[in-house]
């Protein structure tokens, strides 16, 4: 029983990270109808920036906040410079741009910070939390930060005018324009926020998976799985999906002997395929109906 509880809690902790990635993916998907493959590499690059800031002597939380700000601005700039000119272009143009971004960030990180694995300190310390072994301090901190961020995002989208504008722009760009909303800037804002969310995910998971240019590859896959489970059209669903994938991954790794640690990643892909077969729009997604 304690093993089970332990695994569920650990799953929720990593699931929070997947939830963040899923949310970042869904935010951009809602704005431009494409999956950003480079989301993970953007988060990885942000994490390196945080690492660099800490190396330069900034306290952890200062570096944390600075990194979020830098990532936000970078996300806005990427949208303005790379994606804006592609607006209305064919899906393949977007795919190529995402692949380009992915490899640019990956190689640049390797070039600047080299490919060796670095450790990334946890701000929550190690050892025991309240003298028990159920959940480690880092897992608890990871869960706490994720939940705070998700609540803040929820409040932002529900209760602020900018949040409502962003929802309107994503739901119906043409009508939003007719209400005077600057849809292009809302998309850029969405990219900035997705990059910022990704940077938080990267910084929180780095102490677990260690820092190196390919660290986010599997995380993004789990994020995609979470987004597909919840539905690409439903931010709330994507978050729940991310948590679900985290728990499923951990429990399967523990209780299904053949899965073990090595096969865990394929769980994400199995989940994606299974959900797409049974409920293509995800558990909370809305089927897209197109008039022909």
């Amino acid at each position: 029983m304690e093993l089970f509880l332990h695994q569920v809690l650990a799953g929720l902790a990593t699931g929070g990270i997947y939830a963040c990635m899923a949310l970042a993916v869904v935010m951009i998907y809602q704005a431009i109808d494409h999956l950003n493959f480079a989301q993970g590499e953007m988060a990885m690059f942000s994490t390196f920036i945080a690492w660099q800031l800490i190396q330069w002597g900034f306290p952890y939380w200062v570096a944390f906040v600075l990194t979020i700000g830098i990532s936000f601005i970078a996300g806005v700039l990427i949208e303005r410079i790379v994606l804006r000119p592609l607006h209305g272009q064919h899906v393949l143009a977007h795919v190529v741009a995402f692949i380009a971004l992915l490899s640019i960030f990956n190689s640049t990180a390797g070039f600047i910070w080299d490919w060796t694995i670095k450790s990334f300190a946890s701000p929550f310390g190690s050892g025991q939390l309240f003298g028990q072994n159920l959940i480690s301090p880092h897992d608890a901190g990871m869960m706490g930060v994720t939940i705070v961020m998700l609540v803040l995002l929820y409040l932002f989208f529900r209760h602020t005018r900018v949040g409502l504008s962003m929802r309107a722009a994503a739901a119906n760009p043409e009508s939003a324009q007719l209400a005077g909303i600057r849809v292009g800037w809302m998309t850029a804002l969405g990219w900035g926020m997705a990059a910022a969310i990704g940077s938080v995910a990267g910084m929180l998971i780095a102490p677990v998976v260690f820092l190196e240019p390919n660290m986010m590859l599997s995380i993004l896959l789990y994020g995609f799985a979470g987004a597909v489970v919840g539905g690409l059209t439903s931010p709330g669903g994507a978050v729940l999906g991310g948590f679900a994938v985290g728990v499923i991954e951990n429990l399967a790794g523990t209780y299904i002997p053949v899965v073990g640690r090595e096969m865990k990643l394929s769980i994400a892909l199995c989940i994606i395929v299974a959900v797409l077969c049974v409920k293509p729009s995800g558990l909370f997604g809305r089927p897209v109906v197109t008039r022909v």
Binding site: E174, S175, Q177, A179
Partner: protein, 237 residues
């Protein structure tokens, strides 16, 4: 009478295809002008051209200011509210959120809140459904919401694209009654596109007739109503 909207030599294009050919039309300040025509004549395109949603040439003046070629958002911000065909409500957002979206270009929380109440005053049914998702409303209620959202902009001019489309006659009557009230009490000028010519000519004071992208007739609404050819072709009696 001064003109709130003037278009000269307005042409519109979809890709390489030209669909409007040198339209000239005006809307009186405080008046209601209607643009009549058959399916595919270019009515919707005319409205889309005026609010900068397709490629155009020619001159468009709003309140004397040239607005041709400007971005849709900027034209809207000047005070032109476009109620598109098919209503364009935000179906997953609530009725009240839809109204708030309509006021997104404005500041002043209190003024917006009181305008929402004013819209509810015109459309009491929307008030009953304020927390409901717009997609769950009936067609008539959605059209009312679309007009209400346009009101939230405090527009000088409203562009209405077939507001009667798909609605039951009683609902249409109610809606057009409210449009008339809005015109009179809120001093909103209107450019109304309609297939239902009898209805439109009743409401409007001036009318244009468009055929395959060209204006073929214009005059006071009364005069078009009495015109024999119009009566046969568009009014059906």
């Amino acid at each position: 009478m001064s003109k709130v909207l003037e278009a000269r030599e307005l042409c519109a294009f979809y890709g390489p295809t030209q669909v409007l050919f040198g339209l000239g039309l005006e809307v009186d300040d405080g008046g209601i002008t209607t643009l009549l025509g058959a399916n595919g004549a270019g009515k919707t395109t005319t409205l889309r051209s005026l609010s900068g949603m397709c490629r155009t040439s020619g001159e468009v003046r709003f309140d004397g200011k040239a607005i041709g070629g400007r971005a849709t958002e900027d034209i809207v911000r000047l005070g032109i509210a476009h109620v598109p065909q098919g209503r364009g409500t935000f179906s997953r957002q609530t009725v009240e959120e839809n109204l708030q979206i309509g006021a997104m270009t404005r500041s002043g929380r209190a003024a917006i809140a009181s305008d929402i109440e004013r819209v509810y005053g015109y459309f009491p049914r929307l008030k009953e459904r304020r927390t409901q998702q717009a997609g769950t409303l009936s067609g008539g209620e959605q059209q009312m919401l679309a007009v209400g959202r346009a009101m939230m902009l405090r527009p000088r001019l409203m562009l209405l694209d077939e507001p009667s489309f798909g609605l039951a006659p009683l609902i249409v009557e109610e809606l057009f009654g409210i449009l008339r009230t809005l015109n009179q009490t809120e001093k909103v000028s209107m450019l109304l596109v309609e297939q239902n010519a009898a209805l439109a000519l009743d409401l409007a004071d001036h009318a244009y007739l468009i055929e395959t992208g060209r204006l073929v007739m214009e005059g006071p609404a009364q005069q078009l109503r009495d015109d024999e050819n119009i009566r046969k072709a568009y009014l059906g009696y």
